[in-house]
Structures are given as structure tokens and as C-alpha cells.
């Protein structure tokens, strides 16, 4: 499903060029659950952003579902993010003044579909938050907020869910909850990519890709 070929990403900070990824080649099949691990600065977030069409590679080719997406326009990338990907961030990134339900509806607003309330409600129920639909993020615990974010990622039926340190701000109980939700979603057929620096979490996936200094240094299946 995801085919990365020699992906390079260079950030320009004024006159200095900072390479974040140097020639990453990688394939992820549909239905996989993958962890990308590495120290901070290893380029794992950059890799996730490129896979999720939040960012474009400087060099290299990215084929998603057989189509080259590395040269798409901003609007086409926005469309991809809306239809194909769901994002879960470490800091949840919910709209603070909107209810859980409105937050989950957000991707539907931009896809212009019907039955927004019904679909959003279903997504919330899938993460066990049906009864808290009317609550604002500030009225929810960290774990609950992250579940709202997962519901938002789910609502447009994405092919791939990308999670960037999804448990970084959570206690162990919530972390276990979130991980089990991801595993459940994966069993339901959604491909999941989790970026983390915690081995505990990575070991609960089936494949671990290790990045160091912008390169893949190991890629192994978990027994």
C-alpha cells in the first residue's frame, strides 16, 4: 500500500541545509501494524508526515495504492489526508471550544458528506466514548481526549492511521487502552503506523522499523 523509494527530506534553516531523511526505502502492506522507533531527531516524525501527505519529500518517490503522490499539489494532498489518512498526535490536537462530537465531525465538513452526526457518533462509540459526545476536550481526561482524536481519525474510513507518539502524554492505564484500540482497529482491517520511542509500545505491534540519523537501520517482524 505504501511504497517509499529513496525518500530524502532536507529542511532549509536559513542558509543551512538540515537533512531529516536520507534515502529511506520502505514498503508497508495493507493490514499491517507497524512501529517506527528511533531517538528524537532520527527523522521518524518527518517520515510519518511524508507518509501521511502532510509534507512532501525533497527527493524520491512515494507510491500510495499504486499512485505517485510525491508530486501532488497542495489541494490534492489535502484531499488525500481527508480521505485516506487518519492522524493521531501526541498532544491530541483537538479544537478546545468544540464538543467531542464536533471535533470528530471536522473531517466530514471538508469531505462534504451527509449524515455527519450519525457517522461521528458511530466513530465515538467505536472508541467507547458515545456517552461523552457533548463534552468539550477540557472536560475529558487525557486518555479520553486521545480516544476522541482516534474517533476523528476513523470517521472518514481511512486506509491508514498514523499515530505520532500517541501515548507520550498518557499514564500507563490510558496507554494500554489506546494500544488495545489500535490493535482492534488493525484487526478490523485498518493499517496502523505508530511512531514512538518506547520499546514497550513498539513490541505490541508486528513489525518494528528502527530509524537512526535519517536512515533505516533495522526492519524486523515481531514474533
Amino acid at each position: 500500500m505504501v511504497e517509499l523509494e529513496n525518500i530524502t527530506k532536507i529542511y532549509r534553516m536559513g542558509k543551512v541545509e538540515v537533512p531529516a531523511l536520507r534515502g529511506v526505502t520502505l514498503e508497508i502492506e495493507q493490514g499491517e501494524i507497524v512501529a517506527i522507533i528511533g531517538a528524537s531527531g532520527s527523522g521518524k516524525s518527518t517520515l510519518m508526515n511524508i507518509i501521511g501527505c502532510l509534507d512532501k519529500p525533497t527527493l524520491g518517490r512515494y507510491i500510495f495504492d499504486g499512485a505517485d503522490v510525491s508530486r501532488l499539489s497542495d489541494n490534492q494532498l489535502a484531499e488525500m489526508r481527508n480521505k485516506k489518512f487518519g492522524f493521531v498526535f501526541q498532544t491530541y490536537n483537538l479544537l478546545p471550544r468544540a464538543s467531542a462530537l464536533s471535533n470528530v465531525e471536522l473531517p466530514l465538513i471538508y469531505s462534504g458528506g451527509l449524515h455527519k452526526h450519525k457517522l461521528a457518533m458511530e466513530a465515538l462509540e467505536r472508541v467507547g466514548l458515545g456517552p461523552r459526545a457533548k463534552h468539550r476536550p477540557t472536560e475529558l481526561s487525557g486518555g479520553e481526549q486521545q480516544r476522541v482524536a482516534i474517533a476523528r481519525a476513523l470517521v472518514n474510513n481511512p486506509a491508514l492511521i498514523l499515530a505520532d507518539e500517541p501515548t507520550g502524554n498518557l499514564d500507563s492505564v490510558s496507554t494500554a487502552e489506546i494500544i488495545s484500540i489500535f490493535r482492534q482497529l488493525n484487526q478490523d482491517g485498518i493499517t496502523v503506523v505508530v511512531v514512538t520511542h518506547e520499546m514497550d509500545i513498539a513490541s505490541q505491534t508486528r513489525r518494528i522499523i528502527r530509524l537512526y540519523d535519517g536512515k533505516i537501520i533495522s526492519d524486523e517482524k515481531v514474533a
Binding site: N49, L54, D74, A78, L95, L106, Y110, G112
Partner: protein, 417 residues
């Protein structure tokens, strides 16, 4: 994304910052309010002047002496004007076809005394046709007659207010009043007209035969020593003959005054229509000028909106990042902020119209108390202009912040602290 959804998002974020939104709108409210107050006040002023002049009659020409040597309109000014018109001129004009009546008129300020009561009044020395030309009705008694004029009788017709001030409820007809120490017999009282001309009510004047006025009250002579006439009102049969009559009067008077072909007229002919036109032009120019000054307020308001929208974009960078991450396109973000700015200034504009209208009503009320019955008029055109201008201001001042928001890179926006 549908327009209506952008609109809902915009309204929500405006109401989330109520105080800030209201303060930003205040600029637009004051700006639009001032412009509307001036425009509606100006329209009211124009209506007032027009209707006042129309009350005096629209089928009327006025012939007045002019100093041909004075530059431009200065020749008509009292200091420059030299008396050139006479009663014979008036009679000659009366013989022109389509002229229904002529009223040679001299006027001045006098004091009127009855018993111990003395009041100031405007005195008109004129002929019987003054009644037709000025469209006056009698309340009691009769107007001055040809005989009164021929025999220079000391008779006077009182305006309705003058009669009331001097005699109260008593019937003045047959009573004697003193004007400049001379005794005049009241022969009639005019019906109230109700209209005022620049604070001077037409009901406050008194009328005497022009011959009496010339010989007994105020002497004014032409250079050749004849009794002079200050102005001649000419009633014509209708607006369609205005131009012909004007030309005829000019020919007649030039001949009578022996003016050579290359010399300028020593008189001027003004129609009521022209006077209305001049006043309408003046009030129009003045209100446009004032509105232009007031719209500086709108410029300031527009800067205020742009400023607050820039702050809003910065504050909501993360929100923009989130929206982009879940699939918002540039256009969606642009629209959201543009609508927000437009809504801000449209609501402000609507409140401004209400504010300006109230202000205009208050001004016309105060003017009414001071004796100027102004009727502030809010025309649909003014409302459309105000709404259009508000919308325009919102879009123009919202454009730059909205473009900035739309151009944000989603990753940078998401990680903005």
C-alpha cells in the same frame, strides 16, 4: 466544503470572542453611523429647502437688479446692486404673453405698533397681484386693491402671526397700527401658510401698497430719479413657457433700459426651479463632502478589522493546522477567515445604519425644536450603499489575514506554540 458551514464556523468563532468582536465592530458602527447620519440629514435638509421653495410657487420667475460692472454673482449682492427696475418695467413685463401676473415688491424691516404693543416685522410693498403670485389666501378682510395702489393709501394687510401677536384674538380689520410713526388702517389678514424660509415665517410679514411704501416709508430711486423696485415676481402660465417668458422679459427690459448689444444686463432673471436646483446642488455637495470626511472613520475601522483578524490568525495557527491535517484545503481556510471578517463588518454595518438613523432622527428632532422642521429621510439607496461598503471593507481588510492563514504549512501550524 459548503458555504453555509464556513459561515457557521465564522459566527461561532466570533461569538467565542464577544467583547473583542464588539469592540472591533464599534469602528464600523461609528463610521457607518456617521455617514448614514450625514446622508439622511442631508437628504432631509434638501427636502426641507425644496419644499419650502415649492411652497412659494414653482411657476414663478424673479427679476432683480444687477450691477453689470460687478464680477460674477457679486452684482446681485446688496452692496453692489444698484436699483434699475421700476413700476413701468413691471407693467411692461405684465404685457408679455403667458404672464399671468406681476408683483413688483420692495421689502424691509419695520416696527409695528398697536397701542403699547410693538413688534418687529418684514414689510412688503407690492401690488394686488402679489396675492396670486405668492398664492396667499385671506383669513379676513381683503387684500390691497388697485385703488389703494393708485391713491397711495395708508392701508396694511397683516400676516396671520403678526395679527395674532399684535391683536390676540381680537379682529384687527378696521384697527389702526403705526409703521414708522405713520398711521395705517388694517384692511385684511392673510391665512396662515405655515412654512418658513430660513427661520423667517411668511406668516410674520405685513403688506402695504408699493406706492405707499415708496413715497411714505422707504425711498429708493434709480439713477434717473424714478422710484425703484427691488424685485419683480412674475407668475407664468406653466413650466413649459418658462424659457420663452424669460427671453421675452430680457428683450423687453434691455430695450426699456436702452442696453446696447455688447453690454451686460442690469438685471437678472431667476426661476424658482433654478433656485431649487442651486440649493439642491449645495446641500448635495455639502453632504457628500461631510460623508467623505466621515468615511475616514471607515478607513480606521477597516484597519481595526485587519488588525484583529491578524491577531486571530496567529492565535488560531494550531486550529488551522488541525483543520489542514484533516483535509481542509487552502480555499476552505481562506473562506473561513474572509467570512469572519465580512460578518464582523456586516453586523457592524447593520448596527451602524441603526445608529446613524437614530442620530439623524435626534438631529431632526432638535432642529424641529429650533424652528427648522427637518425630516430625516433614510432612503433604501443609503442602506444598500452602507451594506455594500461594510461588506467591501470586511473583504478587503480580511483578505490579507485570510491569505496568510490559508498559506500556512500544516506541519508548522500544528507545532505552533
Amino acid at each position: 466544503m459548503k458555504f453555509i458551514e464556513s459561515f457557521i464556523i465564522a459566527i461561532r468563532s466570533l461569538s467565542a470572542n464577544k467583547l473583542r468582536s464588539v469592540l472591533t465592530m464599534l469602528g464600523i458602527i461609528i463610521g457607518v453611523g456617521a455617514v448614514i447620519a450625514i446622508m439622511t440629514g442631508g437628504a432631509g435638509m434638501e427636502n426641507y429647502v425644496t419644499s419650502t421653495l415649492e411652497d412659494l410657487g414653482t411657476d414663478i420667475l424673479y427679476v432683480q437688479p444687477v450691477n453689470p460692472d460687478a464680477p460674477g454673482a457679486a452684482g446681485m449682492a446688496p452692496g453692489f446692486a444698484i436699483p434699475t427696475l421700476t413700476l413701468d418695467d413691471a407693467e411692461a413685463i405684465a404685457r408679455i404673453p403667458s404672464v399671468l401676473g406681476v408683483a413688483p415688491t420692495n421689502e424691509n424691516f419695520v416696527e409695528l405698533t398697536f397701542g403699547n404693543e410693538t413688534i418687529a416685522s418684514v414689510i412688503e410693498g407690492t401690488t394686488p397681484e402679489f396675492q396670486d403670485v405668492g398664492n396667499y389666501e385671506m383669513a379676513s378682510g381683503q387684500f390691497i386693491s388697485e385703488r389703494n395702489v393708485a391713491s397711495r393709501d395708508n392701508v396694511v394687510v397683516l400676516g396671520s402671526d403678526t395679527a395674532k401677536d399684535l391683536f390676540g384674538d381680537e379682529d384687527p380689520v378696521g384697527q389702526n397700527v403705526k409703521i414708522k410713526g405713520k398711521r395705517f388702517t388694517v384692511i385684511g389678514v392673510l391665512a396662515a401658510k405655515g412654512s418658513a424660509m430660513f427661520g423667517f415665517s411668511l406668516d410674520e410679514m405685513v403688506v402695504v401698497p408699493i406706492t405707499t411704501y415708496q413715497t411714505r416709508l422707504f425711498t429708493l430711486r434709480t439713477s434717473s430719479g424714478e422710484d425703484a423696485v427691488q424685485s419683480i415676481g412674475v407668475l407664468v402660465s406653466g413650466p413649459e413657457v418658462m424659457d420663452d417668458v424669460t427671453a421675452d422679459i430680457e428683450t423687453t427690459l434691455r430695450k426699456r433700459h436702452r442696453i446696447d448689444e455688447d453690454e451686460k444686463d442690469d438685471f437678472s432673471i431667476v426661476s424658482m426651479e433654478q433656485m431649487i436646483g442651486v440649493f439642491t446642488d449645495i446641500t448635495g455637495v455639502v453632504s457628500i463632502f461631510l460623508a467623505a470626511i466621515a468615511s475616514i472613520g471607515l478607513l480606521v475601522a477597516s484597519i481595526g478589522i485587519m488588525n484583529i483578524m491578524l491577531v486571530s490568525v496567529t492565535e488560531r495557527t494550531r486550529e488551522i493546522g488541525i483543520r489542514k491535517a484533516v483535509g481542509a484545503k487552502r480555499r476552505d481556510i481562506l473562506l473561513q477567515f474572509l467570512i469572519e471578517a465580512a460578518a464582523l463588518s456586516l453586523v457592524g454595518g447593520a448596527a451602524g445604519i441603526a445608529f446613524g438613523w437614530t442620530l439623524a432622527l435626534a438631529i431632526s428632532f432638535i432642529a424641529g425644536l429650533a424652528g427648522f422642521p427637518l425630516q430625516a429621510t433614510l432612503s433604501p439607496l443609503h442602506v444598500i450603499i452602507a451594506v455594500g461598503v461594510s461588506l467591501f471593507i470586511g473583504l478587503v481588510s480580511g483578505m490579507y489575514p485570510a491569505v496568510r492563514a490559508a498559506r500556512l504549512n500544516p506541519i508548522d501550524a500544528l507545532h505552533y506554540e
